[in-house]
Symmetry: C2
Subunit: 199 residues, 2 copies
């Protein structure tokens, strides 16, 4: 059976989402088709609103509804330590542990020659500028414990040698080859507590 | 961390979709946040269009862009046999096998006292009207091989005793307790070929 064209189009769009295969996309499309108009309207508005109302923090590149995110603007946070993460979802993972009270820096990627991510395309220059212009005493590297993450951690550690900052890395409580975003809170919390001094 | 409110709202809406848990919803929301405006616009339009442009076939209750679906209006289909399915996704599953060339009838559910689905809330009256007003010779029951599906099949078989139609059921090639929508094409195809006469 050739499906009605509007449904085919929606399945195709859903299929582009991460972890959504062809069959799940079809299931979601049929669910949306059966949903009432109120839900559809709310859903469409919710998608439209994230683009309209969410900004990127000018300091740490976290997401926020204001120019500077609530972590950077809070006076309860320890501004002498910056936790470097690959992505916004990693901030969420670390925040959930309640083991960390410093600031963040979102790199927006890790060094990966195969995916075309080089030194220029992740926010390393911005990190160095922050170190230069603030009283940061420690940089905590919280990248995924896989090849790209490890390489990037070592690269950053080397890069920061000339600055007067302690460079630490979250502990190997995380299973090697795993993914920070999906690790459980206890594991991520343990990893933050057991961070190891690199230099 | 409290996420920006527009993102929380979207995660909540995505979480309502079938088979999308909290973590997947968060992942999808962050993916959408990072997507370019063009994709977001296409996605929103695609969702809006299914409601606007897809109709329910007046004969078999399949989905279609016209009043009568392409299966019912095709003169290549065998109009002497109607395959009774629970849902539109089951039509897709049977059509994919290329083993069936008749018409369909979408019940829109199966008898399930626990979920409040009784004889009145599935399209049984409509099925009987179709049998009365056409030259149907065979009703092929293709409901899921679980308790509700089996009960509904037996109920329909009993209901159709007074009509001059053969009632068949797709073969138990399907794993019992499984789900028609997710069965592989070979299994569903075998089940259509091996249908068993009930009366």
């Amino acid at each position: 059976m050739i499906l009605p064209e509007p449904l085919e189009v929606l399945i195709e769009e859903l299929n582009k989402l991460p972890s959504i295969g062809k069959k799940t996309a079809q299931r979601l499309a049929l669910f949306l088709l059966r949903s009432d108009d109120e839900y559809i309207a709310k859903f469409i508005t919710a998608i439209g609103n994230i683009k309209k109302n969410i900004k990127i923090c000018t300091d740490c590149y976290n997401i926020s509804t204001s120019e500077v995110c609530e972590i950077c603007s809070s006076n309860k946070r320890d501004k002498s330590i910056i936790c470097v993460v690959e992505d916004i979802s990693d901030i969420i993972a670390v925040e959930k542990t309640n083991e960390y009270n410093g600031l963040y820096h979102v790199l927006g990627g890790v060094l990966s020659p195969l995916s075309g991510k080089d030194v220029e395309s992740i926010r390393l220059k911005e990190l160095i500028d922050r170190i230069r212009n603030s009283e940061v005493k420690e940089i905590l590297l919280a990248l995924n414990p896989d090849t790209e993450g490890e390489t990037t951690s070592l690269y950053i550690a080397k890069l920061l040698k000339e600055f007067n900052v302690k460079v630490t890395r979250i502990a190997r409580g995380l299973p090697v080859g795993g993914n920070l975003e999906f690790a459980d809170e206890a594991t991520v919390g343990r990893a933050v507590l057991n961070r190891i001094t690199l230099q």
